[in-house]
Symmetry: C2
Subunit: 417 residues, 2 copies
Amino acid sequence: MNAELVFVGTELLLGQIVNSNARYLSEQLARLGIDVYFHTTVGDNRQRLQRAYELAAGRADLIITTGGLGPTADDLTKETLAEFLKLPLQIDKEELERLKGYFAQRGIEWVESNAKQAAFFAGSTVLRNDLGTAPGVALKHNGKAFVLLPGPPREMERMFSQYAIPWLKENVIEPGTPGLYSRILSFVGISESKLEKTISDLIARQSVPTLAPLVSLGEVLLRITARARDEQQFQELIEPVLKEIKLRAGKYLVSEDGGTLLEAVAERLRHSRLTVSAAESCTGGLFSASLTSMPGSSEYFVGSVVAYSNELKTNLLGIPAAMIERHGAVSKEVAETMAKSVRKITGSSIGLGITGIAGPGGGSAEKPVGLVYIGLDSGKEIRSVAHHFSGDREFIRQRTVKAAQYLLHEHLAENSQ
Amino acid sequence: MNAELVFVGTELLLGQIVNSNARYLSEQLARLGIDVYFHTTVGDNRQRLQRAYELAAGRADLIITTGGLGPTADDLTKETLAEFLKLPLQIDKEELERLKGYFAQRGIEWVESNAKQAAFFAGSTVLRNDLGTAPGVALKHNGKAFVLLPGPPREMERMFSQYAIPWLKENVIEPGTPGLYSRILSFVGISESKLEKTISDLIARQSVPTLAPLVSLGEVLLRITARARDEQQFQELIEPVLKEIKLRAGKYLVSEDGGTLLEAVAERLRHSRLTVSAAESCTGGLFSASLTSMPGSSEYFVGSVVAYSNELKTNLLGIPAAMIERHGAVSKEVAETMAKSVRKITGSSIGLGITGIAGPGGGSAEKPVGLVYIGLDSGKEIRSVAHHFSGDREFIRQRTVKAAQYLLHEHLAENSQ
C-alpha cells in the first residue's frame, strides 16, 4: 500500500504560499502505516493535472489531492479526474441544499457557479466540509483509491481527520496494518547536548524504538518512534526505553506526550491551587498572553501589569524612582520588586517580574540587547534569574517568556512535595 | 524556458518538516521569469530519485534539487545524477581543503566520509556553501541545466541568491527575460467582498497587471502582479491601475507594500505623538504583546493592565462591582469603563478596553463564546464596538486583537486631519 500526494494550485508553483498541507498529510499517512513515495505539485492547468493523475495512478494505490475544489473556472481537480477516469459528475441534491444553506446563513448571495461544488461521481463518498464551502470526495475505481480534499489547511485538516480517515480505514487500509507511532518527550532544565550525552547509547542503538532529538525553542524534545499495530503495542514497545530514559533524566522530563513547558506549568498550577500574576516590561504582555492561551487559565491566572514606561513602573507598581536610577530599569532589584509589587497589588499567591532589553535599540555596553532579569515572589521567598539571549526582538521576547515559565515551573516543582 | 523543482528527503515524505524551500525557490524563479510547472518530492531512494530525474528532464529545461548533498550514505542526490547522466564524479582538491578547514576551525574531527561532499562533475560549477559544509553544484548537459542545492533553508537560500542566480543569468536565462513582479496592497475597514465589488471590473479585466484578492486574518489583501523587465517598468505598468484603486478605495488602503494593520497603526501613532494604554481581559495581554512586538513601541505604548479576574477589574481598574453585576463583565459598559480607567491610571492619550469570551468555557445563550466588546477612550470621546467571532480560543483572541488594532486605526485616521 503506497500513496502519492498531488497538490493542485498555481499559487504553490509561484511560491505565493507555503504548502503546509504536505507536512500534515504526510505525517498522518505515516501514522496510518501508508508509505508515501512521491509528492507532486501542479498548477491549475487541465493538461498537466491530467498528466499528474496518470503518473500518480501508475505508481501509487492511493492518490490524495488538495486544492482546486472551489467554484471558480480555475478549480479543475474534480473535473480533470472525471475526464481521466471517464466518469461523469452529477449534482448531489442534498449537498447542494447544504451549500445554499451555508450561503443563506451568512447572508452571502448565491451565485450559480457555486453549484459545481456539489457535483460528485456515481458511487463516490461526499466528505463534508465543516469549516467552508467546498466538500471533498472519496472513491475507488479500477483498484485505485482517490481522495480529493480542499486547499485551505483548516478545512483540509478537519475533513481529513473527521471523514477521510474513517473512509480510508473502511475502504483502503488492511485491518491490522502497523502504523508509525511516535511520542515526544519534553525536557526542561537540561541542555540538548547534555541530554544527548546522557542517553547517547540508547540513541546510537537505533533499534526499536528509535530516538531522535528535535530542535525546539527553549525546550529539549526527544522523539520516540516505532511501528506498531496500535497504541497499546506501541506503548509496550517503548516501555523499556522510556523506563531507562526516566531513570537517567526523569527529573528534567516535563511531558511524555509532546506537552509543552506551558502545559506542564498549567497542570502544576491547577494542582497546586495557587494563583499567579505578572509585571511585564520587555515582554509587553506576551508572558500573560502565553498563560491565558490555555483554556481554563482563569482558575490560576489573576492578571498582570504591563509597565512599559518607567513612569508606570513607579506609579502603578511602586518601584522607587531612586532604585531605577541606581540599578537601572533592567536589573535584578527591579525584577524582584516588580514581582513583589504585582503579587501584593493583585493578591495572587505568586508574582513574577520581567524586565529586559528586547532590542533592537536600548542596549549599552554594560547592559546589552538580550539581557533579561526575571524575578519571582511567592510570599515566602524571592528569587531571580538573569539571562542573556541573542537573536532578534521577537526571539528574545519568546525566549524570555519561556524562561519565565521555566522559573515558575521550577518553583512549583520544588514546592509540590 | 521552464523549470522543475525536485525536493529530496525522506523526512519530507514522513511529514517531519515543512518544505519551506518550495515556496522560496518558486518565488525566486517566478521573479526571474522562469515558469515552474511541477514540484516533485522524493525520498532518499536511488531508484525513485533516478525516476524523478528522468521525469523532470523529460518535461523541463532546468532541474533544481534541494537536499541529499551531505556526507551520509543516505545523501544520494549527486551520486544518482551521476548515474543518470553517466558522468563520473571527481574530488575537487580546493573544495576538499576548504571542507577540512571548516572542520578544523570548529574543532570537529574530520571523518573520511565527508570527502564525498567535495566531489563534482567535470565542467560543473561549484556553488559555495557560506553557512554549512555541503557545497552545491550547477552544470549544463545535453541542453538541460541542473542546479543541486543543500536542504537546510538558510544554507540553500544564501547559496541560491549569492551563487546560483548569477550562474543562471550567465548560463540559462536569456538576457532581457521579463520576470514576475508583484506588490501587495492591504486594506482595513472594508470587507473582502465589498472591495472585490468595488473593483470587480479591474479584476475581471485580467489584463496587465492582474489583480487577485488574498485571504488573510483580519486584513483584506490584494496582489498586483505583472511581468516586467525591472522594478521601474513594473512601477510604470501598475501605476494607472493603482491610481484607479486609490480613487475608489483609497480611504481603506493602509499599505502599498504588504504592510500589516499593526504596522499602519504603529506608523500613525508615531506621527500623531499620541500614547496608548490598554485594559485587557479575554486577550490576556495579547493586544499589548502585539503593539510591543514593534521595535520602538516604547515611543507610544505606555503599558496596560491585564485584569483577568473580576476582583482585579474592580480593585485595579475601579470598575464598579455593581456595573459588572448589572451588565456582566462582558458588556459595552465594562469595555468602555475599562478604556476610560486605564487611560486615567496610565496617563496615556488613548485607552482601550477589551472584554470578551474566548472560550471554550464561559459562554451562555445570551452571551455566547466569541462575543467581544472593545472600548476606546480618547479623553474627548468614548466609542465601543461589539463583535461576534466564531472559531477556537486562539482564533477568537487573535481576531479580537486585530479588531482592537482596527478600532485604534480608525480613531487615529479620523483624527489625523
